[in-house]
């Protein structure tokens, strides 16, 4: 049994950490937060140049041909730096959907462009708060319906989306967003450093993605849950480090406030939540890389654990900063916002707890 990344993978992580600490500072994130266009194009181009968009794409399609463990270590750094780029939507969701479920022709059409940065894609599943029943329909290769919210839906070049066919079966479809019969608009969200859009398909052309049905979507979201868990623990670590640094230097009653047990015990609980989430994420990574039979349970566990941890740590980091933590000027809210985004991105906590429970009770 070996429960650690390899030397090579840790090297990639260190490189990613160095690169992002230089190129993606809090100022970068704040600029995106306030900008009309929340994708930092200069940063995105550098990420493309480093090959990260193609890291898990086969070499035959222009990628680096590496695996999920390499993607996990990069995800952790993307999360730590709050990078304002469409990495999650394009790399974990759109690229992986096409890689796994696309026909040979679809793979050949999209993957090289995703690796080279020519395209970005996204995945659209949600239809607002009443999403249990899918309303988007595809009949005779034409799509109608509305998706909300779609992460990075305003800037993506194509979207993979869920829809019903004429027989009522759920499937994954793909459509190019340059199509004039798709309208899209940005909707306000809690974390404007990543945009959310409303997409309306007005009888636009759409292709079935391979023969992907509901099970394909479940599998895609499971592997994404593991990758997002790494983004979440990266963010947790950064917020925890920020709180520790502040409370060591902030004095009240003649002493560093970090010396009060009320503060220390808060940080101990935050650290425990982070380490449990990290351990679950590592287990999930191991299950993902080996396509283990317990991946569905491991993925749901990693998701629940990381979501709980990021909420706890991002809110208690604000609390530990006192009044300064509530100001726009301090970075505490950047983590709190991102925690909210990542916790809802592929389905929120109650849905993932339900998946966890169902899978746990089904297991032997």
């Amino acid at each position: 049994m070996n429960f650690e990344f390899s030397e090579d993978q840790l090297f990639i992580r260190d490189q990613a950490r160095n690169f992002l600490s230089r190129e993606c500072t809090a100022e970068t994130v704040r600029a995106a937060l306030l900008s009309e266009n929340p994708c930092d194009q200069a940063l995105w181009q550098k990420i493309v140049d480093l090959g990260w968009t193609g890291i898990a794409i086969p070499e035959s399609h222009g990628g680096l041909g590496l695996g999920y463990l390499e993607l996990c270590v990069i995800a952790e750094e993307m999360g730590r730096s709050l990078a304002p780029v469409p990495f999650a939507s394009s790399v974990y969701l759109a690229t992986e959907a096409i890689k796994h479920f696309g026909s040979d022709e679809q793979r050949a059409r999209y993957l090289p462009g995703l690796a080279s940065g020519e395209f970005t894609g996204t995945l659209a599943t949600s239809e607002g708060i009443n999403s249990a029943q899918l309303h988007t329909e595809v009949k005779n290769d034409r799509a109608s319906g509305c998706k909300l919210p779609v992460p990075d839906g305003d800037i993506a070049d194509f979207v993979v989306f869920t829809a019903r066919d004429a027989g009522g079966a759920t499937g994954l479809y793909i459509t190019d967003l340059a199509d004039a019969s798709v309208s899209r608009e940005v909707v306000p969200s809690m974390d404007p450093s990543r945009s959310q859009a409303r997409l309306v398909f007005n009888d636009c052309a759409a292709q079935k993605l391979g023969d992907a049905g509901e099970e394909a979507l479940t599998a895609l979201l499971d592997q994404t849950a593991v990758l997002l868990a790494f983004e979440q623990i990266g963010g947790c670590q950064a917020a925890l480090d920020m709180g520790i640094a502040y409370t060591r230097d902030r004095y009240a009653f003649g002493r560093a406030i970090a010396s009060f047990q009320a503060i220390k015990h808060k940080f101990a609980d935050m650290y425990v939540a982070l380490e449990l989430a990290r351990a679950n994420a590592y287990y999930g990574a191991c299950a993902l890389a080996s396509d283990a039979p317990d991946l569905p349970l491991a993925a749901a566990t990693a998701r629940v654990s990381a979501t709980d941890a990021y909420y706890l740590i991002s809110k208690e980091n604000i609390q530990a900063h006192g009044g300064m933590g509530f100001t726009w000027e301090f970075d505490c809210h950047l983590y709190y916002r991102r925690a909210q985004l990542l916790s809802t991105l592929i389905g929120a906590l109650p849905a993932w707890k339900e998946k966890l429970t169902t899978r746990l009770l089904q297991a032997a």
Binding site: M1, N2, F3, E4, F5, S6, L69, I244, T247, R248, R255, A256, A258, S259, F260, Q261, I263, K264, H265, F267, A268, D269, Y271, V272, E275, L276, A277, A279, N280, Y282, Y283, A285, C286, A289, S290, A292, A298, T301, V304, S305, D308, P350, W352, K353, E354, L356, T357, L360, L361
Partner: protein, 407 residues
């Protein structure tokens, strides 16, 4: 990253499995095997002898001292396999986990060869005597005096919370040898014969009615200087070594209550409806599982670090903190599910519930023993996260001048 044993460990696991199937009884429930009564103690001793004769005692200790000379990973494989069998080790965990390492570290070669093999096979049982009525979380504030008389030391004072003292042949005792220096510098560790005159063991009746612990009184108990562990005044360093071993030993076996809860959710119906369909039960199950699975995975990470030559870090403190709290929460939640009948403590009336009802009354002790929740948080905050200590009123003054409460 991968889940598989190395070929060597896989082969060891197979040997262990075969041997256990031939020599131990498979268990049918997941309840903790405690230390109830004399018969359980004799069974436990017999099991350790069998295990030692087969070469499976104290796997990581050197062969010369009654061990098997194997690695921590072999120990883990053993722990994982033996969990499926009805075996008891509660009587010996403290001796082998805490006193053993102290003796390995501090005793003379001849003493190690004489004492450790008998400890490994449970022919001799050991206990640890640290806590005192006025020295709990602040264990270095202890007052039991050891005074030098020629080649011997004379002990007077009182210890408390001593697990298994009534079964023990020997103990490792932390004493104050010099009250005129600062409290950490005036402590010395000794081994002591628990059967000798001047050592009196009295059981403590706990709030749940059980008697797992004892008070131990020393009335002019004599200890030869050859039983001293480490230097005079060097007791605190030794004690810290032992306490870290304790938390490590506890973390692997820390009861969380989760496996029992999962069994209950899978099997119990209330008013004809499986509780597994109750949304509140499902929500709690997901939360506790994510913590439980996290502890298991954390343990695997610690083992990976140990296998690569690193040392165990704060995992043990985290396991203790999370497991003890979860155990109490699960017990309380489960009893609430049973409605008014949740109050009944009778295994005849409610065999599937009795475990949780007992745990409601026992679990507060788990959050205190071996370092309280609050001490665990201080360890994590100060030793792992590097946060500063609280200002203290006992710094830089002699032990005898430290303020004490009214008593």
């Amino acid at each position: 990253m991968d889940f598989n044993d190395t070929p060597e460990l896989a082969s060891f696991r197979q040997d262990v499995r075969t041997w256990l199937n031939a020599n131990a009884e498979r268990r049918t429930d997941k309840l903790h095997m405690g230390m109830e009564g004399e018969q359980a103690f004799q069974e436990a001793k017999a099991w350790y002898k069998t295990k030692a004769d087969a070469g499976y005692a104290c796997l990581t200790w050197p062969k010369d001292y009654g061990g098997a000379g194997l690695t921590s990973l072999h120990e883990v494989v053993w722990t994982q396999e033996v969990e499926h069998f009805k075996t008891r080790d509660a009587h010996f965990v403290i001796g082998i986990g805490n006193c053993g390492p102290a003796i390995l570290h501090f005793a003379e070669e001849e003493q190690k060869r004489q004492l450790l093999p008998r400890m490994a096979s449970a022919e001799d049982v050991w206990c640890q005597l640290f806590s005192e009525p006025s020295a709990g979380s602040d264990v270095a504030g202890l007052r039991t005096r050891a005074e030098k008389n020629g080649d011997d030391w004379t002990l007077n004072g009182q210890k408390i919370w001593t697990s298994g003292a009534q079964y023990s042949d020997y103990g490792v005792v932390l004493t104050r040898t010099d009250p005129t220096v600062s409290k950490y510098r005036g402590l010395t560790l000794f081994m002591i014969d628990m059967r000798q005159p001047g050592v009196e063991v009295r059981p403590i009746k706990q709030m749940d009615g059980g008697q797992h612990f004892n008070e131990v009184f020393f009335h002019d108990a004599v200890v030869p200087d050859s039983y001293r562990l480490g230097d005079v005044g060097g007791g605190w360093t030794g004690a810290l070594t032992i306490l870290m071993s304790e938390r490590l030993a506890i973390s692997g076996v820390q009861p969380t209550g989760f496996p029992q809860f999962l069994d209950l959710v899978k099997s119990l119906k209330l008013d004809g409806e499986p509780i597994a369909n109750d949304p509140i039960v499902r929500d709690r199950l997901a939360s506790w599982y994510s913590q439980y699975a996290g502890l298991q995975a954390l343990y695997k990470r610690m083992l990976t670090a140990v296998a690569k030559g690193g040392i165990a870090g704060a995992e043990a403190s985290m396991g203790k903190l999370v497991g003890a709290v979860m155990n109490q929460e699960i017990a309380n939640f489960t009893c609430q599910l049973f409605g008014p009948a949740g109050i009944i403590l009778d295994a005849e009336i409610s065999p599937e519930r009795a475990h949780f009802e007992e745990q409601v009354l026992f679990s507060p002790g788990v959050r205190l023993a071996g370092g309280t929740d609050e001490v665990m948080r201080n360890i994590l905050a100060e030793q792992v996260l590097g946060l500063p200590q609280e200002p203290r009123a006992d710094k830089g003054i002699a032990f005898q001048d430290i303020p004490t409460g009214p008593s």
